[in-house]
Every structure is written in C-alpha cells, then in structure tokens.
Symmetry: C2
Subunit: 375 residues, 2 copies
C-alpha cells in the first residue's frame, strides 16, 4: 500500500448543489474533476491520435479489458511496456474489468464458482474471468484506475436475482481488493443492486467497508426510465463519503452529466460522443446535427457556431457532409474531434461554473435542451 500513487481530494464544494471540484493524482498525472473520459475500446479512441486528444484537453481515457484481452492479448500489451506505451498515450488510463462485456456481448456466459466462463466474440474460444484474474490483467496493462469484476443485472431483473447478483458482486469485491498488493494504481468498487433502493443501499454500505479508492455507480443508465436513473443516482451518491471519487459508468449525454455533477459525481465515460460522430452526428447546443441531411449540402457554416474546435474553425457542414456521404475517413475524424471537444469543453465550463457558484447557469443553458432533438 505504500506504493500507492492514487490520491483524490475535494478542492471546492458548491454552495448551491452537491457538485464539487476535485483533483485526482494517478501514476500518470493529475486529473481535474468533474471529468469526461472518452472510450478507447481497443487501445485507440476511434479515429484520433493521442496528440489530438491532448490538444482537445482530454485528461483520461478508458480501455476495455475484455476487448484488449481477446485482441491483441494482454501479453502483447505487457511486452510493449504496458497500455500507455503500446498506444502512445502518456496520460491516465482507466480500465474496466471486462465484466460488462462478458455479460452483455455474450449469449453464452456461465457463472461458476468464483468467476465467469464465456466465449470470445471473435472466434468462440472459451475463456474464464475471475475477480483476481481481471485485476491481474489490468495491472499487467498498467492501468491507473482499475475496476473490480461485478455482475450487472438488467433493469427488469426481479428482486431475488438482483440480490443474488449483488451478493456475488460483494464476494468478488473482497477477492478483488485482496489482489491489488502494492500496485500504485487505484481500484474502484462498483455499487450494484439494480433498481432496488434497499439493495443499492446495502451494496453501498458493504462496499464502503472494504475501503476502495473510489466507487463506481453501476447498473444505471442501461434502459430504465430516466427519472429513476437520477433518483437512484442521487441516493447512491449520498451513500458514498465525500472524500471518495464517484464515477458514473456509461453516462455521457450533456444534460445527464450536468444533473449527475450537481449530485456530486466526479467521473463520466461514454461511447456516445465518439460513436454518433462516426454515424454522422454532431453534438451542438441546439441538438444533434445529422450531417447526412440534405439541407447541409450547400451550408458553409461550421458544425456549431462559436466553437473553437479544429473542425469548426476550418471546415463547413457542406464539406463534412460531402466527406461523410463519400465514406471518407476524414468525416469520422472531424466529427469525432468536434464531439469530443464539445464534451471536454462542457466539463471545463462545468468546473468553471462550480468554482463561481453558478452551476445553475449551465443547467439553464440545457433547460429545454432535448437531447434527442435532431437539427
């Protein structure tokens, strides 16, 4: 434990909400929170170079243990000197446990004693993940913030099964924490309990007893009604002491992030911004701009006015539409650049407003903001 380089401290608390500014120290540098963490599934944030991410202001990226374990294999990454060196990213990396992919991508997983068997989505080969093993894999990659193996359940799971999965997750939590050793990076516990208040509360309390470096809010924003998402988020956050980092896994829409920030969440990740970019959709303050729309054929405006991103400073909607329709790689690059810039810039604005005690202003900016609105 003496080797631990992970530290978190709250540096400012909002008077008008539960939002806070924080600072995370990791083996690969400092992160200012609240922060948005782009997803780099296969050792690359799709379409982007590390330099471009840094220019945009990205502070931390996420790597997917499941995908990297299957391809290129953790041995390749380890021999490269770790994930940072392999992919030429020098800043912090958060890795998930692989559990979510095992349970969601595979029709054929099987929970066995102390772990889960599954088949590769690539070639159907058989594999086994245990709580200890996924920690080992993440350590070998040199992760700055590791996740424990958990069993997520679907939002319509009944009370009995949800409880069973929660208990198993708690068992796995104990095994995980015992596997960390003197590793310098952090390990986060994941709070499950599905849609049930009392189970989430119980899970939170028992996770807290294990004293993880931080806590992830799991099993939310996976298809349940949005009001319930934030009702349960607020309750879960309130269980986690202020001195612990709070991470909402998989939440990535601007309105949702602002809500969760005001409840005291520090870290967010989501594929949304990068995935919709590759499908020709730009995030703007007016809604989602679908570049395929015919109306943009001779529109020489940037994707979004008053945007300082590389894409908006240099290219028009007409040009990006042309690239997209012509299947040009540059379309994905430019749209991803804009969307990530939007998210990173939003987080910067959020941090600024928290400091000024004016978070409500940014909330107002998104009042009536219909995320699903297409322009």
């Amino acid at each position: 434990m003496e080797n631990k380089k992970f530290k978190f401290k709250v540096i400012h608390e909002d008077k008008n909400s539960d939002a806070r500014l924080g600072e995370i120290i990791t083996p690969h540098g400092k992160i200012n929170t609240p922060v948005f963490c782009p997803v780099g599934t296969r050792a690359t944030v799709k379409a982007m170079t590390p330099e471009e991410l840094r220019d945009i202001g990205v502070q931390i990226i996420l790597g997917n243990t499941y995908h990297l374990y299957l391809r290129p294999g953790i041995d390749v990454i380890e021999r490269a000197g770790g994930l940072h060196k392999f992919m030429h990213w020098k800043e912090p990396i958060l890795t998930d446990s692989g559990g979510y992919q095992v349970f969601s991508l595979n029709q054929t997983f099987k929970i066995v004693k102390d772990g889960v068997e599954f088949k590769s989505i690539i070639d159907g080969s058989k594999h086994f993940f245990s709580p200890q093993k996924v920690i080992e894999l993440q350590k070998r990659m040199g992760s700055d913030i590791m996740m424990m193996l958990d069993e997520p359940v679907s939002p319509d799971s009944d009370y009995g099964y949800t409880k069973l999965a929660m208990i198993r997750t708690l068992d796995w939590a104990r095994m995980s924490i015992n596997s960390v050793g003197d590793y310098p990076g952090a390990l986060f516990g994941i709070i499950q309990g599905g849609m049930y208040d009392d189970l989430r509360k119980e899970c939170s309390q028992r996770m807290l007893e294990l004293n993880f470096d931080g806590y992830s809010i799991g099993g939310l924003s996976i298809g349940e009604p949005r009001e319930l998402t934030f009702e349960l988020t607020e309750k879960t956050v309130n269980e986690i002491p202020k001195e612990k980092t709070r991470y909402f896994m998989g939440l990535g829409d601007p309105e949702g992030i602002i809500k969760a920030v005001s409840m005291g969440v520090d870290i967010f990740d989501c594929v949304l911004a990068t995935r919709i970019a590759r499908n020709g959709v730009a995030i703007t303050y007016e809604g989602k701009l679908n570049i395929k729309n015919f109306r943009y054929k001779i529109d020489f405006n940037p994707l979004m006015h008053d945007c300082n991103c590389y894409c908006c400073k240099n290219y028009s909607r007409a040009y990006i539409r042309h690239l997209y329709i012509s299947n040009e790689i540059l379309a994905s690059r430019l749209l991803t650049t804009h969307n990530l810039h939007f998210m990173v810039n939003l987080m910067g604005e959020i941090r600024k407003k928290i400091k000024e005690g004016k978070l409500s202003e940014i909330k107002k900016k998104f009042d009536g903001y219909v995320w699903k609105k297409n322009i």
Copy 2:
C-alpha cells in the same frame, strides 16, 4: 494571358543524367521539382488533414474532376469559394480532366461529336464532357494546374484506333487551349499515341505547336511491359523542350520515379502510396511490409528504421498490426502518414542528389530493389 500566374523554370541540370531541378510558380505558391503529388480524389487525401500533409512536406495534391463533378458537384465547390477553400488546403492543386475516369470506370461511355457521353458510377445518370466543359469545371474549382480532355487507349489497341484517338485528342487539345482565357492557372497538354513510337512523336510535335504550359506523358504505365514504359517515356520526354514542365501521370513506385526523374520528368502522381496504406501495406527500403503478417504481432520496432515520420517515431508494428486487424481508423492514418512521408522524403533525397550530381547513389540504393517483394 496577362493574368497567368503559372511559371516554370529549370534551376539546375544534372551533368550525369537528364534529371533537373525546377521551380513551378502557381496561383497558390511555389513547388520544387521533381515532385510527388498525392491523390485527393474526393477533395481529401484519404485519411489525412491538410495540416498533416503540410507537415510531411507535401507541396501539391491532385483532385479528380470526374468524382468531384458527380459529388458534391462543382456548383457546391464553387459556392464554397473553390476547391482550396472547400477542403481547407492552401497549397497548389492539380486537377485531371475527368477523361481517364470516363473511359476507365464506365462500360457505357460514347464518344460523340466534340465530347463524350457517359453514365454516373453513382446513380447511372447521363452526363456529357467536352474539352471546353472540363476546362470550365476545373476553372470553377480554382485549379492551379489543369489537364485537357484526352482519349486514353488501352495498351493493346491497334494502330488504326490508336491513331484515331490521338487525332481526336489533338482536336480536343485545340478546343481546350481556346477555353483558358485569362485564367491564372496552367493548362497541360497530354501526349498520347499508345505504344507506337511514330504516333507518340507526331502527337508530341503537334501538341507542342499549341504551346501548352506543360506536358503530361499519357497512356503509359497502364499495363504494358515495364521496359516499354521507360523506352517510350524517354522518347516522349526527349520531344518536350527543356523549358516545359513534364508530368508522368499515374507513376508512383519509387524505382520507376527515379528512372523517370533521370530522364527529365518533373511531376508524378499516384494512388499507390495511399491505397496500399489502407490495405495494411507500408513502403520501406526493404520492400513492402504487410502489417497483417503474423510475424509482426509482437514486433515492437517501427514500420521502418531511421524513419522520422510521426508513425515511426511513436508507434510499433505490433500496435499498427493490432489496429489494422481491429479495423481501426488509426491504422489507415498511420500507414498513410508513413507511406506519404516515404514518398515525399524520397523526392527530397532525389532533389538533393541531383544538386550534388549524385543521383546515381539513390539509383544504387534501389538497385535490386524488388518493389513487389513482401517483407
């Protein structure tokens, strides 16, 4: 003609070969020759930004009139303020006439009086190109170096048809040159005549009478034996006066370029470097490196040793192989970066060696260089 901004001058002649160093002035700046011109078919050099091309040292790119005419349409490009503004490239642009695509991509072209009818490869719609029209299209895009409409023939065309096509090309040449007006960019004549010495000679002489700004060597490197390519190249080049720019259309392999340079050719373009990059192939001094090869799975060397490109300075073969196999966009970006850097760097080396009177050294470097060799 007073408005003409195109100028070419030979600034150094090699004592040991017919190679020369030249300087081209265009409305969008200066080009040092011999030069390699990457292909930006659809208003983008695939996978690259203009800034990246500049960083590599690219001096001029090529745009395809046929593709841009069909999509997004010349009206869109014109309303954007021309091709340079549309695609955010500030340096010179060479455009082809579209003729090659009409004759090679369409099974259904029809030569009619003073032009050619063809169907769109996108939607089958009917279109018509005349010598005047393709000049008009190139002028509207703001091309720095335009090409005339010509009729290329396949290398196995008989004498009669080849002569017919040559005569038609000469007729079109006259119509083309009369369409230039006071446009500041250049117009190049294209020398055809297939595989027949006397026809190529006749074509050259009659093209020269029209006094084009420069001359393209057409109808070569399209499938004929390689020895014949260079035999005819030499003869054609020798017909073109020294004070005129010479452009070998579609030649892009390093060995071939060095040969043609030593015969006095100034400009080259080819999709090869960028296309094979997207197919996972890197150009190296040892041959073509196929990144899909299993041997590169745990190879942490750069694509090519002693290469200063962004890709080789920061990434390993193992990582690029992983990206390529995972279908990641970054694979195309990195391989394209390396291959274009290789080509641009090769041209820089060639210019340096011409200046030093040591072009043979670079020729020697490629002696026994088997382009088709896979490593």
